[in-house]
Symmetry: C2
């Protein structure tokens, strides 16, 4: 029980959660969800993604949604970008934080964006140059950082190389994603401990799934190993459809509760968050047309 006394939660439900819902949630409902998250005290929200609408039609309304979000002052809204066109769209509407996903394995990256890891990192480097002094923050997510479904364990050396490329491009926030949902407390501790030691100036985050109930056990192991930024989604929305055992992202409300029991401040009101969870469930189950 030796983790940091303050942690940051990055809410990824509006992006990672809603893109996994088969139907399109109306933009006004998405904004309502986000505004409730803010009311509960969430300070970092991955609100949508700038990808081609044909790839992910559920998030085709990213510009309209950004317009409807209130409280731009106290909350950071970040968006996923998947190519340079998406990056330009994000800059054009004034998004202040963009995130790139690069898989630690070529297999995972080819599967995700049809490029090798090195090709994606080249795009990350160009993004760093493009952002320059625009004031837009660059964040990195390393997919398959805790294991690859086919290649198995990923060497810490590989994760460090990808992290260094993100750092060189200007990213200080780098998140380790358990893309395929095969993390466990032992693996989390081993990987995080080595990374924190190797690159101590990175603000390390983690993106976990709740596979067969391991979500909070992995989160506890990550926190104890030095992770201070957690990606999660209200109601556990989202996650990986390819995981060997079904399970969504770790739920923000569970993470807030776990952290409260550890005496860790998240700045989030659990009661309001549980109301938000109920609202999210009602919207996702029966969206208004």
């Amino acid at each position: 029980m030796k983790g940091k006394k303050n942690i940051t939660i990055v809410e990824v439900g509006p992006r990672d959660g809603l893109q996994n819902i088969a139907h399109f949630i109306p933009t006004s409902k998405k904004a309502e969800i986000i505004n409730k998250m803010v009311d509960a005290g969430e300070k970092q929200i991955e609100f949508s993604s700038f990808v081609h609408p044909e790839w992910i039609p559920q998030l085709a309304d990213v510009e309209q949604l950004y317009d409807l979000i209130k409280d731009r002052k106290n909350v950071t809204y970040r968006a996923l970008v998947a190519n340079e066109k998406g990056l330009e769209r994000a800059i054009a509407i004034g998004v202040k934080s963009v995130v790139w996903v690069v898989a630690a394995t070529d297999r995972g990256n080819l599967d995700n964006v049809n490029m090798t890891t090195e090709q994606s990192l080249e795009l990350v480097r160009r993004t760093g140059k493009r952002l320059g002094d625009t004031g837009v923050k660059l964040c990195g997510i390393i997919a398959c950082a805790l294991g690859d479904p086919l290649e198995g364990d990923v060497p810490v050396k590989t994760v460090i190389e990808v992290s260094e490329a993100f750092q060189e491009a200007g990213a200080t926030d780098i998140s380790l994603a358990d893309t395929i949902g095969i993390a466990n407390p032992q693996k989390v501790r081993q990987m995080v401990t080595q990374l924190v030691e190797a690159l101590p100036h990175v603000n390390w985050g983690i993106h976990l799934h709740n596979i067969l109930g391991l979500g909070m056990a992995n989160a506890l192991a990550a926190w104890e190993s030095g992770i201070a930024t957690f990606e999660s989604s209200v109601a556990g929305l989202g996650g990986c459809p390819y995981a060997p055992h079904q399970g969504g992202n770790i739920a923000t409300e569970e993470l807030v509760y776990l952290m409260a029991t550890l005496g860790v401040d998240t700045g989030i009101d659990l009661g309001k968050l549980l109301e938000t969870r109920d609202f999210v469930r009602s919207v996702v189950q029966s969206p208004l047309p």
Copy 2:
């Protein structure tokens, strides 16, 4: 990551799970569930309870059920008893293991069985004498061991006193129950570490609920602190209806998976257990009349 390399799982679904289902599950279906659990490798099963049928009509078929259970040789079937009449019924049909629940707080015990803790312990002592050399094993569960909903933290001294009374009556297996679902990793570690130190010859067990996702995080903390016996139920059936946040017992399949990732042997086949889970869900949702 320093727990024991072998653990015992006590499956409590047939008792704690099914008594919380409003309707009566046919005896043959209960036997089918239990036999599937055995096929998956479960070796200790709390199969039912000897309480007055008016209290818990869902378990009124305890004698008939025991008749239908196969494989009496390799599996220990234990039953809950709540009074001396129940104890005699258990002995009469040849049950080999009985379990008493005593709450660590008078409030909890009065609530549960309308007796003070000391009055229940007197019954436990009489049970110890009655069992004598019958070969029937006595197990103890300490309710509210990890906190009382009204009294808050329970002093470790109190839990030790109840444990000593169980020991004196002949119980070597004593389980700490998070009756109200308020345990957290920190609390689990503190309590278990002190108990293992104070009474090292007890075979300590723990009975956890999965409240707001904390189930496996608490199980991990318990295992690391020296717990080698876990009570759980397939599909997470059961749990406490009075818990502040809804949640069932920890699920056996999740525990088996967590332990497998830690290199801990449970003797249970996860694939078969997941099939058993699906079967349990199908029975509970639409029981045959």
